[in-house]
């Protein structure tokens, strides 16, 4: 049996392990943490209160991965409808976005423009999804495989096709200003386009990222990311994969350009025919594979991958359920209300500072939604933009405290009474993410979402098909196509490539 060592224990590693085990490979998964699940796993915040995962958005975990791995067998369920998103603006009634409707913004014309916007996205989604959910095609490779998708794209029709091409390179702010009459709505929605980027809404190409995200989203998973992690662990083990914890891989052993296995901290060697790295490409090539084993041009390109994390995560255990400033309970809330407000927060990143007026995106869940906390309590996961980037001198206690207090005042102004409910919290800045999860640059998506780091260029042109120039070494982190979020795609596609040509 072919022995596979999977490095890392995040959702992609688990997905890949499950696929491989299912196809008869002998799979060992090696995680340095003491519980598997990576960025999806929950961590205790206070006695009886567990976080919602560092990455908490489960709506983009693909249905086809779920089906192919038969995750329903281990109890995975989707919620019936997407979370209601509250868009906050001081001294104005909130806008509530629920699926395809946006309420609260007064004008009828606003609603109409939102409808048209959603209709356009819905029309183009199936086509974009087929391109996104397959191993990136090599534009320099054989012509035949390229024709199918090309024809598909053309079948969108002249108007939609032109529109997709035109929009892609735009600033999300320009595009949403053109499309939605209500800037507040645009500002609230545009955060999705900024995920994983090093950009503000006035940066070109952010519209593309929004398209990629929107077109691949479904409904969230009951219990959120921790439930997903749990299901994947259970399923991978059921299918025969072995999970090893507290195993820090320090080296990928390569001989004559063929992978031999991995080495642990204690010098012990674990032999394998195939090594699948779910660590980001920089960690993999710059830290684990010995320098001599990779061509210098590849090292240079990997070194150039941009991974500047500017997102922080605040996990909070609450003694109640937070409400917005008109008293409606919150499922998800954002305080972004103008493009300039977000852009100004981003400006700080450019000069190596943390924003004093951070943009927050809060997800709240209680026990009825599957969160682990006592009845009546709730857990919040706050995604915060823009935090200070990772730096050599680290984040001082004072800077950290200051940043935290800025985050809390932003939350408090959107959710009055929030602070009083706090039982305990944990702030994870890019520095922490780097330390705790081994993320280069503290970047949550293991590589910025930028057009030169997508598709056949992710993570680099020679590594884009999950294969590497080293025989037997494969990649499956979000640093590979299609990039960030809990999607399971990189894990699934990497495994499929291994299964196809072992």
């Amino acid at each position: 049996m072919t022995r596979v060592a999977v490095i890392g224990g995040g959702h992609n590693a688990l997905v890949a392990a499950a696929y491989l085990a299912k196809s008869g490979f002998d799979v060992d998964l090696l995680d340095k943490a003491d519980t598997p699940g990576g960025l999806a796993r929950s961590r205790p915040i206070a006695e009886g209160h567990e976080s919602l995962g560092t990455l908490s958005d489960t709506a983009r975990f693909r249905g086809w991965v779920e089906d192919e791995l038969e995750l329903s067998k281990v109890g995975l369920q989707r919620v019936a409808k997407t979370h209601r998103l509250t868009l906050h603006k001081p001294e104005a009634p909130p806008i509530y976005v629920h699926g395809n409707t946006a309420d609260g913004s007064s004008a009828e014309s606003h609603k109409r423009s939102y409808q048209a916007f959603i209709e356009f996205l819905t029309r183009i989604s199936p086509t974009l999804r087929t391109v996104i959910d397959q191993t990136p095609l090599d534009p320099l490779g054989p012509v035949m495989p390229l024709l199918g998708p090309l024809l598909k794209v053309r079948r969108l029709g002249a108007k939609d096709m032109t529109e997709v091409m035109r929009i892609s390179s735009m600033c999300i702010a320009d595009w949403l200003r053109d499309s939605l009459e209500d800037e507040r709505l645009g500002a609230g929605l545009c955060l999705d386009g900024l995920d994983g980027t090093w950009a503000g809404p006035w940066s070109p190409w952010t519209a593309l990222n929004y398209l990629l995200k929107w077109t691949t989203q479904g409904t969230p998973i009951v219990g959120g990311a921790p439930a997903l992690a749990k299901a994947l662990i259970e399923r991978a083990e059921q299918l025969g994969a072995r999970l090893h914890l507290q195993r820090t891989v320090t080296k990928i052993v390569v001989e004559n350009n063929v992978v031999r296995g991995v080495e642990f901290e204690n010098g012990q060697m674990h032999q394998a025919d195939i090594v699948l790295s779910a660590l980001d490409p920089k960690m993999t090539f710059l830290n684990l594979v010995s320098r001599g084993a990779t061509p210098p041009s590849l090292i240079r390109r990997v070194d150039n991958i941009r991974m500047r994390g500017t997102t922080a995560i605040l996990d909070v255990a609450l003694s109640g359920r937070p409400v917005d400033h008109v008293g409606t309970s919150i499922e998800r809330l954002r305080n972004a209300h103008s493009f300039d407000q977000i852009e100004q927060a981003f400006d700080c990143s450019k000069y190596g500072r943390a924003s004093a007026h951070p943009i927050i995106d809060i997800l709240v869940m209680d026990a009825s939604g599957g969160a682990i906390c006592p009845d009546g309590h709730s857990i919040a996961s706050v995604t915060v933009r823009y935090a200070r980037m990772l730096s050599n001198d680290g984040l001082s206690e004072q800077d950290r405290a200051e940043f935290k207090s800025c985050i809390y005042s932003a939350i408090e102004s959107a959710c009055p009474g929030f602070r009083k409910m706090v039982i305990a919290d944990r702030l994870q800045t890019p520095d922490d993410l780097h330390r705790d999860y081994g993320l280069s640059g503290g970047h949550l998506d293991q590589g910025e979402m930028a057009p030169d780091q997508l598709l056949f260029m992710r993570p680099t042109i020679e590594l884009s098909k999950y294969k590497t120039p080293i025989s037997g070494l494969y990649l499956c982190s979000n640093g590979s196509h299609p990039g960030g979020g809990l999607t399971g795609v990189a894990g699934a596609l990497a495994a499929k490539n291994i299964i196809k040509n072992p």
Partner: protein, 526 residues
């Protein structure tokens, strides 16, 4: 009756007229101002001093045009402008010379590694430029069309694309999408070198050096051609206006009629088709076709009128981004000033002088503009043409051209704040520059300040956009000026476009004018 009337005597309108005349068509050019050239113009605004009021350097003027219209015979001479000086408040600054050994020493002062990489970077860029260049010399195909001519053009493009090596494709993708700073970061370490290199990415855009998409314009530096040889920048002898005038002379000799002081008020429409034009004085002039050398906003909102356009085209028009971001200050100088960081009035002042001391400086200048103010400490590109071409100033005296960014057309208080802000803007520019050459102020004989508001009012550039519309990807190639209308035709029957708002866009290259004429002839429109 004329075969064609060209609205606007900018260099593109003139080039279009010249090519039509060359093919034996009867053409009339109507220019609103008293001088020809549009934004490529020379004006003697102070006795004895010839300002290249707007455009001040050339690089992309298509060599075929010089050849085909015989412009050298009509008085065109391009003088190379080869060094590039970045003064600093501390230290000796940086000069990039035409001689690579000298440049090497200059860069090595700040980073030995960068000095080694610099020539390699140049070669890589030249290779990419060779690949991109043919695109500016071809009309843009329509990617959605199934017509054989478009399909074959797309197939050719695809083939070209696929002929790249993986390394080149990777570079190309980065070049087209990265910010200038991110792109340069992959090559260089010294911010002192990177800052002046990055600025070419922002000229005329409403973007900063850290905005994705600005790396592409870096290529322009390596696409420039003077006399068929790759060179960065040049000056036209006698001022930029000489380019337009040489084209005008060629056109006239080929039989075109050209009128100045002839502002067009409207395009004469009948049954949705252009019949000719109405001048502001009420005169009606008819022609088989009308060609507009003005920007799309002025052409359609102004000359055609929105009533004649369908809602889809109007929505494209409304989304077409013009928002100008630059201004210009022209000075007549009694004598040359001296830069503190490089004493003496040597060769280093003969090229272009970039006030771009650091990346953060440039980014801060952009931040001001993003929120509706002109930069408190702007990026400036300074050229003293009289050092290369003494004919533009009296003996011993000098002309200084200062291109300034950012000056956003849309100020926080509205664009109409500009007339009150003009002097403050001019003062900011002079004050900032004087930090580098303190004796500047004492040498100024005359100062001429152009804000984006002035560019609109005086030169007919809507929202002061120097390129007739931003040169961002969604407004280039088959999207310029609107999807489906990138081949010089417009939704109005018998109305064509030939200015910088058409493919391949702005700058003194005369490509849109030439390509439009060739297209018109090929389609047998006249």
């Amino acid at each position: 009756m004329y075969d064609a009337i060209v609205i606007g005597g900018g260099h593109n309108g003139l080039a279009c007229a010249a090519y039509l005349a060359k093919a034996g068509r009867k053409v009339l050019v109507l220019e609103r101002r008293h001088v020809l050239g549009g934004a490529a113009v020379t004006e003697e605004l102070y006795p004895g001093f010839k300002y290249s009021t707007c455009s001040y350097v050339v690089s992309l003027l298509r060599p075929q045009i010089i050849r085909e219209l015989n412009l050298a015979k009509h008085g065109l001479t391009i003088l190379p402008l080869e060094c590039s000086f970045t003064p600093h408040l501390e230290g000796p600054g940086l000069v990039r010379w035409p001689e690579s050994a000298k440049t090497r020493d200059e860069i090595a002062r700040y980073s030995k590694r960068d000095a080694d990489v610099y020539p390699e970077f140049g070669r890589a860029m030249l290779n990419l430029a060779r690949w991109v260049k043919p695109i500016i010399d071809m009309p843009a195909p329509d990617p959605t069309s199934f017509m054989p001519q478009h399909l074959s053009a797309m197939a050719k493009l695809a083939q070209r694309f696929r002929s790249l090596s993986p390394e080149a494709l990777s570079q190309m993708t980065k070049m087209m999408t990265l910010s200038a700073v991110d792109f340069l970061d992959e090559w260089f370490e010294s911010p002192i070198l990177k800052a002046p290199m990055a600025v070419s990415g922002i000229i005329g855009t409403f973007l900063g050096v850290r905005s994705p998409g600005t790396a592409y314009v870096l290529l322009h530096h390596y696409m420039g051609e003077i006399d068929g040889a790759f060179r960065a920048w040049g000056l036209s002898k006698g001022g930029t206006g000489e380019i337009s005038l040489a084209i005008a002379r060629a056109a006239e000799q080929l039989g075109a009629d050209i009128r100045v002081n002839a502002p067009v008020a409207k395009i004469l429409m009948k049954n949705g088709s252009a019949q000719g034009v109405v001048l502001e004085n009420g005169d009606e002039l008819k022609a088989k076709i009308v060609i507009s050398g003005c920007d799309p906003a002025l052409t359609f909102n102004g000359f055609v009128g929105r009533d004649h356009l369908d809602s889809e085209f109007l929505s494209h028009l409304d989304r077409y981004r013009l928002r100008g971001s630059s201004g210009k200050v022209n000075l007549a100088l009694d004598a040359l000033p001296e830069f503190t960081c490089r004493p003496g009035r040597g060769l280093h002042m003969k090229g272009d002088i970039a006030i771009a001391p650091s990346i953060d400086y440039l980014e801060r200048a952009y931040d001001d503009a993003k929120y509706g103010e002109f930069s408190k400490r702007p990026y400036m590109n300074v050229v003293i043409p009289s050092l290369t071409d003494p004919s533009v100033a009296p003996p011993g005296k000098h002309v200084m051209s200062i291109f300034v960014q950012y000056a956003p057309y849309h100020l926080k208080g509205g664009a109409d704040q500009w007339p009150q802000q003009r002097d403050a803007f001019g003062d900011t520019v002079i004050k900032t520059l004087a930090e580098y050459c303190p004796d500047l102020e004492s040498k100024i004989l005359h100062r001429h300040v152009l804000t984006p508001w002035d560019l609109e009012k005086e030169y007919g550039l809507t929202e002061g956009n120097i390129f007739h519309g931003e040169l961002s990807l969604e407004q280039l190639f088959f999207f310029r000026p609107a999807p489906g209308w990138a081949r010089y035709r417009t939704p109005i029957d018998r109305l064509w476009m030939c200015g910088s708002g058409a493919h391949p866009g702005g700058g003194v290259m005369a490509a849109p004018g030439r390509l439009a004429a060739l297209r018109i002839l090929k389609e047998g429109a006249v």
